[in-house]
């Protein structure tokens, strides 16, 4: 469903992403971990077609992001780190606008918007102006715009950052729900970027760890936490070892 092949992104001398490759099968939910500035956001921006990679290839649902950008982008729902909202629009108007942008056919547009509103718990605020909503609700609107066109691939960049504990729990439950849909709903393949480890343990079955632009770990969650270790220890070990290697080198 998602294939990243030798992705690299350089800004002058700075290497933000360095030869990262992975494949995700349909329905997989992957936690994309790493310290701040590790290259998570850049990798996600490449996968969503916002940035072109310096090297390598990103293929979404069989469409190469470079050769068939429109088809590839149609298959992705993306929630950037700060939700891309127009504060002056109301929730329903905004979602309808996004549905048009994402090529949802006119006949199905109203249904698609309603479904996204229900799934993200936004039906009560559908007429409210986005700028007047709380941060938790705005995050939900951000999620709703990512799923409004039922894309096979969902890419979520730190969806719970800056929320209070109750809101975090709600958003997590929502993402877990998106990853395990009921009959008739779209099965999403999800990449969830975060540096909050319990979030990964709660939702994901596979973990990828990126550090200094390189993928340093890619394994099923069960395998990592199998030996009685917590994910936190694994995380610390991998990000620290890299530093140690560099110091000794």
């Amino acid at each position: 469903m998602i294939a990243a092949r030798h992705l690299s992104k350089r800004y002058g001398d700075l290497v933000a992403v360095n030869d990262v490759s992975f494949e995700l099968a349909k329905g997989e939910v992957v936690g994309f971990l790493g310290p701040n500035g590790a290259g998570k956001t850049t990798t996600m921006r490449i996968l969503t077609g916002f940035l072109p990679p310096t090297d390598g290839q990103a293929v979404i649902d069989g469409h190469d992001m470079f050769e068939e950008p429109l088809a590839a982008r149609r298959s992705v729902g993306y929630l950037p780190e700060s939700p891309p909202l127009y504060p002056e629009m109301d929730v329903q108007g905004y979602l309808t606008f996004v549905a048009k942008l994402k090529d949802v056919p006119r006949a199905r547009r109203r249904d698609a918007v309603d479904r996204a509103l229900v799934r993200c718990g936004l039906t009560d605020v559908r007429r409210r102006v986005i700028g007047a909503l709380s941060k938790g609700y705005r995050q939900r609107v951000g999620l709703a715009q990512a799923i409004v066109h039922s894309p096979p691939v969902l890419i979520l960049d730190e969806p719970t950052v800056g929320l209070d504990p109750t809101q975090i729990r709600e958003i997590r439950a929502l993402i877990a729900d998106l990853a395990a849909p009921k009959a008739g709903e779209t099965q999403h393949t999800v990449i969830l970027s975060t540096h909050i480890l319990p979030e990964v343990e709660a939702i994901c079955r596979r973990v990828m760890l990126i550090h200094r632009g390189r993928k340093v770990l890619d394994a099923p969650l069960a395998e990592l936490t199998g030996g009685g270790r917590s994910l936190e220890q694994v995380f610390a070990q991998h990000t620290a070892r890299d530093v140690a290697v560099e110091v000794s080198a």
């Binding site: 800004y11 921006r45 969503t48 077609g49 916002f50 940035l51 072109p52 950008p69 429109l70 088809a71 982008r73 149609r74 992705v76 993306y78 950037p80 700060s82 939700p83 891309p84 909202l85 127009y86 504060p87 002056e88 629009m89 606008f97 996004v98 048009k100 942008l101 994402k102 090529d103 715009q145």
Partner: protein
């Protein structure tokens, strides 16, 4: 190109829920009323004076088009120069400040659709402004007999000037995420463009180089004023229409390149 309408209608709606549109409309209407009144009064005084001195030959040559409508349109084109940057400053800068550029650029639409959608939205607003200007000469038709084709050509010229300003203002907005910078940049660019004809006059007057000098001719051609004045005089020439088309097209191309440049970095 099916997304052009989607982008344009969202942009227009945003414009009308923000105070900017109303501030601009109000200021524009007030200024238009003031300048129209002053050119009518001036005309009136002129007529009275010519009658007092019994200069009937000159009196015969007076007409509403050249002595009321033309100066009025001329002033309004300068007013547009001040107000259009206010309309265009948010076109692209606001998207970047909101982070919504990330939504647009990861959606299945081309950059041309974004650029044209935004241009058409601002163009629609400017059309409203120009229509507002058109109301005033409309009053003259109730009390006098200005020439219709000449008036319409002048109004068309004003619209073309407005659309060029929109293309330039949009370009300024695509260069920054800060709306104040977008406004100032657009304003300076428009001012320079407008002043090119003064520069050309200086060059022509500058003896040594003579009036036939190519640089001053080039500056004169680049400036909007001459092309606009031809239209106000009722001279609809393809050369002038081409000028506006080239100007608008060039800045739309530049805008497209500026929007696309996020991807080059």
């Amino acid at each position: 190109m099916k997304h052009v309408g989607t982008i344009a209608s969202r942009e227009l709606r945003s414009l009308f829920v923000s105070p900017v549109a109303y501030v601009v409309l109000t200021l524009f209407a007030v200024l238009a009323g003031f300048f129209f009144l002053s050119s009518v009064l001036q005309f009136n005084e002129y007529v009275v004076r010519l009658q007092q001195f019994q200069l009937f030959d000159q009196l015969k040559e007076l007409n509403l088009n050249d002595h009321v409508i033309a100066p009025f349109f001329g002033v309004m084109s300068v007013v547009l120069l001040f107000l259009i940057p206010g309309i265009t400053m948010g076109l692209f800068a606001a998207e970047k400040a909101n982070g919504t550029d990330e939504l647009l650029l990861t959606s299945p639409l081309t950059i041309w659709e974004i650029v044209l959608g935004k241009f058409f939205a601002a163009a629609a607003f400017v059309t409203i402004l120009v229509a507002l200007v058109g109301l005033f000469p409309g009053l003259l038709f109730l009390y006098g007999d200005p020439e219709v084709p000449k008036t319409v050509a002048g109004l068309g010229g004003l619209l073309l000037v407005g659309l060029s300003y929109v293309a330039i203002g949009g370009f300024a907005s695509s260069l920054t995420r800060n709306q104040v910078i977008a406004f100032v940049l657009a304003f300076v660019l428009l001012l320079l463009l407008w002043m090119l004809s003064f520069l050309a006059d200086l060059g022509a007057a500058g003896g040594a180089m003579g009036s036939g000098n190519w640089l001053s001719a080039l500056l004169r051609w680049l400036s909007t004023s001459d092309h606009f004045e031809n239209l106000v005089k009722g001279l609809v020439d393809t050369a002038d229409l081409t000028y506006f088309a080239v100007l608008i097209g060039t800045f739309l191309l530049l805008t497209k390149a500026a929007v696309e440049s996020v991807r080059w970095r």
